[in-house]
């Protein structure tokens, strides 16, 4: 059973809503009445109830938008009982009630935006959609308006693993109130945004949540991330990948396919690129003198990465901040932060 407020809107616009459902059903067989009904009861209604508590006058508009957006999501099996993942339902049930006032004020912006963002995060291998939801649920009540909420969502998405948004998310964070920006990045207590921002900009492997005293150097190269997997296990690579660097971009090749690899302390993402884009680029195949490939693994500035568990190193590439290594017996790309000069 849905709430009285939601039921009243559904009843008042019954013919229109039914016609829309019929259209959606004819267009997309995924629009199952049972699934959509369940979505309205268990997900959309949570949002409508929350809005009803804060701004009851906005319920009709919010309910209509929730119906429209929900119908699209259920039709594409992105929400509701038959969904491919539960991220969108969870985002609706946790973020939107926390931001009920903002949802009430701008439902046509907030509902689609949050749904799309949750879908992006859920679909990106390695991204932590639950961390994003948790951050927004926690911080949404501190947002004065929908613009701030949407900007917060962008910064939190970067924090949740979408490393390719690093530059633009940093710019977005500049527009947030300082305390909100620091909270979105889980910065240590007492930090100030200009300092954190400067380090984030210069050092992709800088973790703002880690106290300075824990940033100690070690004799071994520490693995920051391993990216990719065998396609048979749900990854992207059909054979052990090879890495190359073009300027500050890292490229990965597996078979005859290419990806650009973006990575930082928050996560790593792969983006398919046309072969032409890589073939025409000037590839930097030579390694800096301080990087050596040995029988034990890879040595960089006298620190060693033991790769014997992954097989022999078959490709190594560096940017100014990152070393990428791939090995003969692994479908991963190993990423290491550049060690300090000892």
């Amino acid at each position: 059973m849905v709430s009285d407020a939601f039921a009243a809107v559904l009843r008042a616009r019954r013919n229109e809503f039914n016609a829309r459902f019929a259209e959606a059903r004819r267009q997309n067989s995924g629009a199952e009445p049972v699934a959509f009904g369940a979505f309205l009861e268990t997900t959309a209604d949570v949002v409508v109830r929350a809005v009803d508590r804060v701004l009851p006058n906005c319920v009709p508009d919010v309910a209509a938008v929730a119906y429209e957006v929900g119908l699209q999501l259920v039709s594409h099996r992105l929400a509701g009982p038959g969904a491919r993942h539960g991220a969108l339902d969870e985002a609706w049930r946790r973020i939107l009630p926390a931001a009920a006032t903002l949802v009430a004020e701008a439902p046509r912006r907030v509902l689609p935006a949050m749904s799309n963002a949750a879908h992006h995060l859920a679909a990106a291998p390695g991204a932590r959609v639950s961390a994003w939801i948790e951050a927004l649920e926690r911080l949404a009540p501190r947002c004065p308006d929908a613009d701030t909420l949407l900007t917060l969502g962008q910064v939190a998405a970067w924090r949740a693993g979408l490393a390719h948004y690093r530059e633009s998310a940093l710019a977005a964070a500049d527009t947030l109130p300082e305390s909100l920006a620091l909270s979105a990045l889980d910065a240590v207590e007492g930090a100030c945004w200009p300092t954190i921002r400067a380090r984030l900009r210069a050092e992709p492997w800088f973790d703002p949540s880690r106290p300075v005293q824990e940033e100690r150097s070690s004799d071994a190269l520490s693995v920051a991330a391993t990216v990719g997997a065998f396609r048979g296990f749900g990854g992207l690579f059909t054979e052990p990948p090879r890495v190359r660097a073009v300027g500050e971009w890292l490229y990965v090749q597996s078979g005859d396919e290419f990806w650009v690899l973006t990575a930082d302390v928050f996560g790593a993402t792969l983006h398919r690129v046309p072969v032409d884009a890589v073939a025409s680029a000037s590839l930097r195949l030579d390694l800096p003198p301080e990087v050596k490939v040995t029988r034990r693994g890879v040595e960089w500035r006298k620190r060693v990465l033991d790769t014997r568990a992954f097989g022999d190193p078959i490709s190594v590439a560096t940017t100014s901040t990152t070393l990428a290594v791939s090995c003969s017996a692994s479908h991963h790309v190993i990423l290491l932060p550049r060690p300090p000069i000892s």
């Binding site: 013919n15 016609a19 829309r20 019929a22 259209e23 959606a24 004819r26 267009q27 997309n28 629009a31 938008v65 429209e68 957006v69 119908l71 699209q72 999501l73 039709s75 594409h76 992105l78 701008a106 046509r108 912006r109 509902l111 689609p112 935006a113 749904s115 799309n116 963002a117 879908h119 992006h120 613009d147 949407l150 969502g153 962008q154 910064v155 998405a157 970067w158 979408l162 390719h164 948004y165 690093r166 530059e167 633009s168 998310a169 977005a172 971009w249 650009v260 973006t262 983006h271 690129v273 884009a277």
Partner: protein
């Protein structure tokens, strides 16, 4: 916000794809773009290219709103497949590039350029529905668009059209200035629709002409300035004149004419769907394809800035030069025009019967009763730019002109259906098919232009270009040389050649240049 279902689906792929640019640019704003459409960022509208939005609107209308499976605006990027059908060997071509339905495209370009479009065709073919869609694209609620639509009828008065004086003011006013007018709401709208305009009485048509032509309304000395707007008029029986004959000036204000083509019976299933779903497309127009006032302003600016290259312009000039000449209309060279004969009320048949020695079958000028007005040419330039813009180009292509020209000149260039051209084998259909006739006329003009090799050998064009560089600093000797060149060219052109329209324009152009140099020479001498 995009609503679900076929009536809200927009074309997602680039509707006229061009080579993509910028690899590896990641914008966190993309986070909010995805399977659910909507106002995901406040600046989305400002960032989206308007030509793409216009194309999306076009494809939404043809795929969803108006069942018009007629791709009569044909583009080809390689030779199209072509078939001859039936005993009369009718040609059917399958265009090899993205082609369009004029019934949807022309109104949309009219909307984008804020000009005036006339829908013609029998009753119940979607003319009014298309016009209403344009109103909705401008952001007006369907109800407002319908209420603001003016329905022509034989009893329509100026007050019905424009507004009434307030009764209290009529009683109390001491001066005309004191009478306030309750203006009709439609006058303030950016999309104006006049249904069945040829049923409006002549006197009221004159009031409509003032609004259409000069963009203001006048009642009892009170003036209402209308905003710039796109006009959509409908007529069931354009050629026959409707209840009242449309005054020529009003007809001349119409920029393009589009015909509602016949319904294709293979699409009855789509009609059935609409009946069963009880859906009116104009009520479910996606918000993403609705243009606000600022966007239409921007559209106009961007369309105007589309380049019209010289080689295309020359062909249009050559085409336009063919029609005005009427050798027997006057003694003085400048007045040898069809307009002179028309103003004098001369009998057309008597005029054309006078032999000028030209081959009336080959002379394009012999096919028309008039020439092209400045307004018609201005409209043609506007729509050609709009067409190029719509296709995602920033330079007008000859094909843009070729495709748009028949719709602009539909009512502007009047055919003389008694001309020998229409009696020639296979030309009979052009008596009723103005679009086909005009396109053929333009093709023939371009072929003649090629035959004369005017792209490479255009001495009049070269002299005009030389003149456009300016007169400053020209010596007397140089001016005399140029005058001599002009006179030689006139002599050469006049020698043993028939006077066709293009030659007439060239000679007048040479006379203009000659006069400008003569005046300059006179000034040099008096210094």
């Amino acid at each position: 916000m995009t609503r679900p279902g076929i009536f809200q689906r927009l074309s997602e792929a680039p509707t006229n794809p061009h080579t993509p640019v910028a690899a590896h640019t990641f914008d966190v704003a993309d986070l909010y773009r995805g399977p659910v459409g909507g106002d995901t960022t406040s600046s989305d509208g400002a960032r989206r290219p308007l030509d793409e939005k216009l194309r999306q609107a076009y494809f939404w209308i043809v795929n969803t709103a108006i069942i018009s499976p007629h791709y009569d605006v044909e583009y080809n990027d390689q030779p199209p497949a072509s078939f001859l059908v039936g005993d009369s060997q009718v040609r059917l071509t399958l265009p090899s590039a993205q082609s369009y339905s004029s019934f949807v495209l022309l109104p949309l370009l009219t909307f984008a350029t804020r000009r005036k479009c006339l829908f013609v065709g029998g009753p119940g073919r979607g003319k009014t529905a298309s016009a209403v869609l344009m109103g909705v694209l401008a952001g007006y609620p369907v109800r407002d668009v319908r209420r603001a639509m003016q329905h022509g009828h034989p009893q329509m008065t100026i007050a019905d059209l424009l507004g009434n004086p307030l009764p209290a003011d009529l009683v109390n006013a001491q001066r005309l200035d004191d009478i306030r007018i309750s203006w009709r709401k439609w006058l303030s709208m950016r999309v104006k629709i006049v249904d069945e305009y040829n049923r409006i009485p002549t006197r009221t048509q004159s009031a409509l002409l003032t609004v259409m032509g000069d963009n203001y309304a006048e009642v009892l000395d009170q003036i209402y300035e209308c905003p710039e707007s796109a006009w959509f008029l409908t007529a069931n029986d354009e050629q026959g004149g409707g209840t009242y004959q449309v005054i020529e000036a009003l007809r001349d204000r119409i920029d393009v004419v589009v015909q509602a083509l016949a319904f294709n019976s293979r699409f009855l299933g789509d009609l059935l769907t609409r009946v069963e779903e009880n859906i009116r497309p104009e009520e479910v127009v996606p918000r993403e394809i609705v243009f606000d006032e600022a966007e239409v302003d921007r559209l106009q600016d961007e369309i105007v800035s589309v380049e019209f290259p010289l080689d295309v312009r020359r062909r249009l000039e050559f085409f336009a030069s063919q029609f005005e000449l009427c050798e027997v209309a006057a003694e003085q060279f400048e007045y040898k025009t069809k307009d002179t004969a028309r103003l004098a009320g001369a009998d057309w048949h008597t005029l054309v019967a006078q032999d000028t020695g030209r081959d009336r079958l080959k002379d394009p000028g012999a096919q028309t009763k008039n020439g092209l007005s400045v307004r018609a040419l201005l409209t043609l330039l506007h729509y050609a730019k709009a067409m190029a813009y719509f296709r995602g180009n920033r330079v007008v292509d000859l094909e843009d002109v070729r495709q748009i020209l028949p719709f602009v000149l539909h009512d502007k260039l009047v055919p003389d259906t008694d001309a020998p051209f229409f009696d020639a084998p296979g030309h009979g259909a052009f008596r009723t098919d103005r679009i086909g006739w005009l396109r053929r006329l333009f093709d023939a003009s371009c072929a003649e232009y090629d035959r004369l090799d005017l792209d490479r050998d255009d001495p009049v064009g070269a002299l005009a270009a030389e003149f456009r560089l300016g007169l400053d600093g020209l010596t007397e000797r140089e001016v005399r040389l140029r005058l001599l060149k002009i006179e030689r060219l006139v002599t050469e052109n006049a020698k043993g050649r028939k006077l066709f329209g293009n030659l007439y324009d060239d000679l007048l152009s040479l006379k203009y240049l000659h006069q400008r140099y003569t005046n300059y020479l006179r000034w040099l001498k008096t210094r």
